[in-house]
Symmetry: C2
Subunit: 337 residues, 2 copies
């Protein structure tokens, strides 16, 4: 039986050790999460995602610094940063290791930075990230920044953990940027054009505006494994959130106060419309789906007779049957055993 | 009963219709795939992946053109291009639609271009892409180019479909490029620095070389749901493939003949060492895993009593239990029904 009280009390070493257990998906980690989850639900979750080269890490750095040093002289927020590295799906470890960065924040007891590595299995990263976020939430952090690189399905899943999702762009990143944005725009609550002192700013902003119009702003459908529900649309006269497009230069903090105001405005919008509760529900549904997938696969694998997979793969390689047929036979094997 | 003979005979309209069935994962599509699979296994599968802004699409264009117009005056290859767009996970459709591009190839009866859209579910894109590749293979295309954007888990899964995986970079894309490459480098057989006339070329090449050394070249472990096997390493004196780093400028075809030579050399390496068979096996295992995941989820959902998911989600939202506990209870529900 793991004692979660030190984590709830804010013991950094206990938290750090627990995060490793969660990342390695140990039984201790699972047991602790089950307990910690009941203490959570209070933190504000902010996702920051975008393509490489947008200066996203510098932006996270600035957001964190401004939450720690409020311009109005108010109480600094306790803040956690979860940086999701697209590390190897094969080696199971972080190639780069925990990055040393955020110099202004190092040594600040109100800040906790955690770099995540992919853990091999499909959906593994989204699952462990959800666990790490839950641990920070239960440990009493006011704000949790979740930074993801790229725009793959895993990143989208992780972005869905957040209450407010910020999508970062930069001028002049080339043609493919159009393709990337098609998927990611629909999860954006706030759009940031960072490196706003670079040539091509207006062009990037115009492209974003055009794509926003295509993306049906203010309307989102969450598709879950079990059922679907609309986040908006139930009430006719509900105010609709139109994602603002902001300019920042993270290297000299230009536009950061405006970005924080926008995050705050989005938070108020979520509370006022009831979207906060709906979004929390959708987020938990998404976490539940990931857990169900993982549990189904684990159960199936544990029940599979020795050698059944290898035998089926041999038949597949010999093209005696199709992958679909092979999968159907293999999951029938499980049921009979 | 669907008649696959027109597809096997090279009827483009029949193929096009079938691809839609496969993308929509219909019963007709599944039935056709089960039959087509038995006719496949002959095509050369080449994956091309990289971050936005690297000019990857232009490179695909050039590779295709050179396969259609061989420098040695030989027989042109029949060639299919599968372009995987990171489209919306919510809307279930392509936002941008099929891109009009590859002007030099349009109207060429020996070329078939298909843009893929994400189909919502986790692993859905990798699954339908595998199906589309199998259909092209059975339809007699000699070479299938699979183009993916970004470096998420889904892209890595798709890249694993290929015999030869080309990872595209470009000079001066910023700091985050380091993080992206950590994961993608391990799946690279050939590295291309495109836009080689841009400043920062040597720096990018140096960074790639350094990371290649970290990535343990020539050694790959494929982790499957059922078991693991090493691709290399069984024989002591086997030649090891060191991914070359090539320079290209896709806009004026610089370096494309060298790239095609390198693809050809890698193919010969795979054949000589037996890696071709091992890689085919790993690829089929990966497709099988995706099918198993999908089949497990579908079966679970079909057996779930009405309202069970919603009731459990309500308890989860009220924080009466953890996602892990909720998932365990939900998969037990299935077993008892």
């Amino acid at each position: 039986m793991i004692d979660i009280q030190p984590v709830l009390n804010g013991d950094r070493l206990a938290l750090s050790r627990l995060l490793s257990q969660i990342e390695n998906d140990t039984e201790i980690g699972q047991e602790a999460l089950a307990k910690l989850f009941l203490h959570g639900g209070k933190a504000q979750l902010i996702g920051i995602t975008g393509a490489p080269g947008t200066g996203k890490s510098s932006l996270v750095n600035q957001i964190a610094y401004h939450y720690r040093h409020p311009a109005d002289g108010g109480q600094p927020m306790r803040l956690a940063i979860v940086a999701v590295d697209p590390s190897s799906p094969f080696s199971g470890g972080a190639v780069l290791g925990d990055r040393i960065r955020m110099n202004a924040l190092i040594g600040d007891a109100g800040v906790f930075i955690r770099s995540m590595a992919s853990r091999g299995s499909l959906g593994g990263l989204a699952k462990t990230t959800a666990g790490v976020v839950q641990a920070f939430d239960a440990a009493g952090f006011d704000v949790i920044l979740i930074e993801t690189v790229g725009a793959g399905q895993a990143e989208v899943d992780i972005a869905r953990l957040a209450h407010t999702t910020i999508v970062v762009e930069a001028p002049g990143l080339g043609d493919d940027i159009q393709a990337i944005k098609a998927g990611i725009l629909e999860i954006a609550d706030i759009l940031v054009v960072n490196k706003a002192d670079r040539p091509g700013l207006e062009q990037t902003e115009r492209a974003l505006k055009n794509m926003l119009q295509l993306a049906h702003p203010g309307r989102r459908v969450f598709q879950n494994l079990g059922y679907s529900e609309k986040e908006n649309g139930s009430q006719e006269n509900e105010p609709i959130w139109l994602p603002p497009i902001l300019r920042t230069i993270a290297t000299d903090a230009t536009g950061i106060p405006e970005l924080l105001s926008s995050i705050s405005a989005h938070r108020h919008h979520l509370e006022k419309t009831g979207d906060l509760a709906r979004r929390d529900r959708a987020r938990l549904a998404s976490e539940l789906d990931i857990m169900i997938e993982s549990a189904l696969i684990t159960r199936w694998r544990n029940r599979l007779p020795d050698g059944a997979y290898r035998t089926m793969l041999n038949r597949l390689v010999a093209r005696k049957l199709s992958p679909h047929q092979a999968a159907q036979e293999l999951i029938r094997t499980e049921v009979q055993s």
